[in-house]
Symmetry: C2
Subunit: 303 residues, 2 copies
DNA sequence: TCATTAAATTGTCCTAGACAAAAGTGATGA
DNA sequence: TCATCACTTTTGTCTAGGACAATTTAATGA
């Protein structure tokens, strides 16, 4: 019984690893890896182990290393580099470590219960800034190192998702001001940052209209008009390339009417060097609270 | 004040419309549309109205028309074709029409309340089959026609998501059998079908482990092992190309150990002609209930 | 009318080359 | 020693034009 090797075509590798087809082809020429097999049509066929190796490479690239130093390294060498990322994250609050343990032992239900309890203990604001935000970073870094697997990270976001949605449901303010439209641009599929922002804004008494992820720009414009929102909030995770963040924000700003404010937040905007005309860039979640206060102040002035 | 036109590069158009870069370039040559401007580097720059026109074209293609008949048509002609899709969907239960009205008038909160009430009236099983499933189809078709905008569809799925998650939380069966891992493959980002499946399976007393969307195949294998699941359930929406569904299911089946069952469901698998060795293809949600019963029967046999 | 075969359609893959943005390097001066 | 500026390298993504299998449509014959 010959076990048929699992092989991916170039499109499959792009989906599985997040590395573009063009990059895969040009790496092959420049660094000599990956070197896929070819089918009878001379098309690339990547065996499983090369895909796995590409995933390790992707992690190192995402954590700041340059392709010339990592593409082409063998798996053991890659693992050495990955372990070097271990250092700074080890010490942290004991509570956070507890959550991480739950994630690694795959106790989804227990994790959810623990998160809910912490939320009630700390209150939403502290919960987001002292627990969820650092935990996200912790999980993200552990994932980079390969310490937490993708499926474990998926399980984690499911639970956070659940706890946050539940809480948000109890503090909605329909009809209140400001009216805020919340979504991400096409290409950005991480919903967690958006959810955290919604929780913060709902806490301030804002009326949040959540559109979910990946709304085309033109649709954002239409939705902003239909719901007569005062503000559009876009969330960017650090997974998305900086150039995409910049051009995306610019396009959105140009497409939206001037009277609608545009706020951009998330770890993806932290990487932006220069400010963008007519767009408010948010750092930590507390910026949102301040921005709402400022917006309300400006409204009173206008009258 | 010259209003700077919003222009997209080819990657931006791919993200916004879902049409691949290769297709965009080859359409330009074959059908004479789109004909983007060029920047100083001779790179394509698509003005807003061409992107909008491409979105209309994409809708028609998704509903079965062929490129030679629609790419290259002007907006008015496209709209004529879109209106021809109107016919069959108009008559439907009055309750469903009520939901659609709520969507179109952007009353998210009211929609959620109405859905929750219907869920309590009908019970989960009937709610899913008689309300949510047809409503999904109705919304999908209306979206195809341009009758419901993308942002309205996003708002709708947010509300359904919310109602279903809420309900599922109350009927979890941790520790029960069978243990089922639920996710979608990379490329499939629609979570609604997955959520409906989770609701159905939880109702049967199965222990569902929800991984969210887009889990790489290797990660699915690891998660299946870590959680010692009996079954892996993959969901495919109709938005995903058939070839991707087929190769995805095949790869997953080959990568998973034989003792783990693989079930594939959703409107995406309905388009598959031939069965796939070792994989159970699901039609309506009720198939899941039956499959669980069959699985339990087989377990008893084994002892 | 239905099945079978030939022709047209269509998305995705291929190679090979080019270039701007970003990152690294080194020299200069405070 | 450290910051600043100019120069070089790196790197992802774009370009063009060609090819082909898979699917659909059209044409043929029973």
């Amino acid at each position: 019984m010959t076990k048929a090797e699992v092989k991916f075509d170039i499109a499959g590798v792009e989906r599985e690893t997040g590395i573009g087809k063009d990059a895969l082809r040009v790496w092959e020429k420049r660094y000599g890896f990956p070197v896929p097999e070819r089918d009878e049509r001379e098309e690339r066929l990547y065996p499983q182990e090369q895909v796995e190796r590409l995933r390790l490479i992707k992690r190192l690239l995402d954590s700041g290393l340059r392709p010339v130093k990592v593409v082409g390294l063998e798996v053991p060498e890659l693992n050495v580099l990955l372990e070097q990322l271990q250092d700074d994250t080890t010490q942290h609050g004991a509570e956070l470590a507890g959550f991480v343990d739950l994630i690694k032992s795959h106790q989804g239900a227990a994790l959810r219960v623990a998160l809910s309890r912490t939320l009630l203990q700390q209150g939403m604001e502290e919960f987001l800034s002292k627990t969820i935000a650092p935990l996200n970073r912790l999980v993200g870094e552990a994932w980079m190192r390969g310490d937490i697997r993708v499926f474990e990270e998926h399980l984690y976001s499911e639970q956070v998702n659940h706890v946050l949605r539940n809480a948000i449901a109890t503090l909605r303010h329909p009809g209140d001001t400001p009216r805020i439209l919340m979504t991400t641009l096409p290409g950005e599929e991480h919903a967690l940052g958006l959810l955290m922002a919604e929780a913060t804004l709902s806490l301030c008494g804002a009326d949040c209209i959540m559109l979910g992820v990946q709304t085309p720009i033109q649709e954002i414009v239409l939705a902003a008009k239909a719901h007569q929102v005062d503000i559009v909030v876009l969330s960017f995770s650090s997974a998305i390339p900086v150039v995409q963040v910049k051009s995306g924000i610019r396009l959105a700003r140009e497409a939206l009417p001037k009277k609608v404010a545009l706020w951009a937040g998330g770890s993806g905007v932290a990487k932006l060097r220069s400010p963008i005309e007519g767009v408010q860039l948010m750092g930590p979640l507390s910026d949102l609270t301040e921005a709402v206060a400022a917006w309300r102040g400006a409204q009173i002035q206008k009258r």
